[in-house]
Symmetry: C2
Subunit: 368 residues, 2 copies
Amino acid sequence: MTATPSSIRSLTVDLGERSYPIHVAPGLLDDPQCLRPYLAGRQVMVVTNETVAPLYLERLKGSLGSELDVREVILPDGEHTKTLASVERIWDALLAAGFNRRCTLVALGGGVIGDMAGYAAACYQRGVAFIQVPTTLLSQVDSSVGGKTGVNHPRGKNMIGAFWQPRAVLIDTQTLDTLPARELSAGLAEVIKYGLIRDPVFLGWLEANMAGLLARDGELLSEAILRSCAIKAEVVAADETEQGARAMLNLGHTFGHAIEAHQGYGQWLHGEAVGAGMLMAATLSQQLGWLSGDDVARVARVIESAGLPLTAPAAMDAEAFLERMRLDKKNLDDRIRLVLLRRLGEACIHDETPPARLHDFLSEYPRA
Amino acid sequence: MTATPSSIRSLTVDLGERSYPIHVAPGLLDDPQCLRPYLAGRQVMVVTNETVAPLYLERLKGSLGSELDVREVILPDGEHTKTLASVERIWDALLAAGFNRRCTLVALGGGVIGDMAGYAAACYQRGVAFIQVPTTLLSQVDSSVGGKTGVNHPRGKNMIGAFWQPRAVLIDTQTLDTLPARELSAGLAEVIKYGLIRDPVFLGWLEANMAGLLARDGELLSEAILRSCAIKAEVVAADETEQGARAMLNLGHTFGHAIEAHQGYGQWLHGEAVGAGMLMAATLSQQLGWLSGDDVARVARVIESAGLPLTAPAAMDAEAFLERMRLDKKNLDDRIRLVLLRRLGEACIHDETPPARLHDFLSEYPRA
């Protein structure tokens, strides 16, 4: 199936002079017009990984035609490659090719590739053009909007990076056909998050359509991706550099990051940890009197229906959570800040839970 | 001498919400109020080098008082340290200290320290506060304004970096008392540049006061620094990310960078190469009919009076120049762009010199 203009659905992320479009369509990668309007010049560096390259690199390059100077960097796959050393490989390739400040970097892959290619673009000759072609559901609904780029440091995730907006985000929903089921579910965790923090109607739509999403129905996936990006864009437009309201996008992430870090990155997928973390946030919200027991049961059901785990790891006691949570970048002045739910469809930021209460909550919370 | 409010002269660099002040005064480093208004929080990391630390680090720390968490990174001195590896040392120190996104980096030193500390601040946790305390004339009149940060790559100068504005620039003119004479002259090359590109009255003032500047008269140096920063601020405010007019700040730099690169960095100081390059630009401007012979002689006299070399290195033939000039970041679409002088006090950007003519000019130009 080849994309025709009529099958492309689009959204503009409104950031003043840094505004850019997100285009979503099955088969978009084969459309020769999908990338070209967003190139800064003739020089194009595609950054991808060893898993994605055999699947989609030639298709992408085919759509670019032959008059351009198109090069590629193929990095190993996985979160452990999200290092400054990998970004240096991209810079080395750009300099070896003699690329100038009118070159364009294209990220073809998941969130790790997008974060690294975006950071490489942010800092090459103090900033060059960047286009995202995300190929996982998680990156399509998360890294498409927000401009966060960067790499991990041995002492912490995403510690080195920059805010750098792409010129366009191009989402071919057919790339989800090759995504492992576990990664599809992990992406759905973030989709559910958007309903929980800001859109009760979308939450109901997800409950009604979860089976179709898991069956990779293209129309339903397009709708879920666009709605997720639209919600994230609204939140980010109000708070581009994460001073306040944007923190609500971290629902489930403070608990989730603690799970990921404690279990060792890669054991739990990010989305799996966020799913379990969102249920923890909902449960604490109930204890604060904001959600009903029925609300929490509904949160549990939609997370479970996406094929995600519900309980925290058996090996993590309260102190194991708190130790990691104290390092969270959201914290200010040594208070743990949490994103909780005032009601289903409305998040709030809360830093007034007494430490002892948080300890009790974490001690009593169900483990696997 | 301790700075009193009345002896501080100031200038605001107007960049909308990223505007910041430049304060100039003898003894400013001893003023306990000089840094504190610009700190983002309690955590302060001073970045300096092995030459500057023994001279000024304790004074700076003394002015900060004891309630803050002040750490330091002391790097080796010299352009060869301006690498990503040095910036990684700064990031490692920030993470080892557990500094969060409300920390502040203070650059205490010359342009190399400012560029590295600024880049470290731009990318630590996607951007933290940054204060410049430049201690060389070159960095006081050049890096104080413009927000350029970054490091060198084996394949080119300043290839990796970011635009990142400081919260304030604090210039203690007494730090120039310890500056080697050759570096004072190199800084004056950039000061002369501001007169040549935009301010004939300032050029006349420099001609009249060069002896006093070389004698390190504090009042004259303050005036020269402020006037230079004001001119650069006007140019940068109109073109923050260097799309057009800002290129005029590179008068003498295309020829100068070729000299630096050919001779090996550190053989010619940057300002020395810029001085010789400005005279080359003036001479080519005369050949294009824009300057008179008297104008060029005046340019030569003011450069020479600052203690700077006038001729290009004997070992560089025309091709040695052209080879380096073709790599200049200003070039677009394979045309060499030069900053020339329409008249004394007015620069222009010119990319229409035919290659053969440029080759002849470079062949015939006087060598040392």
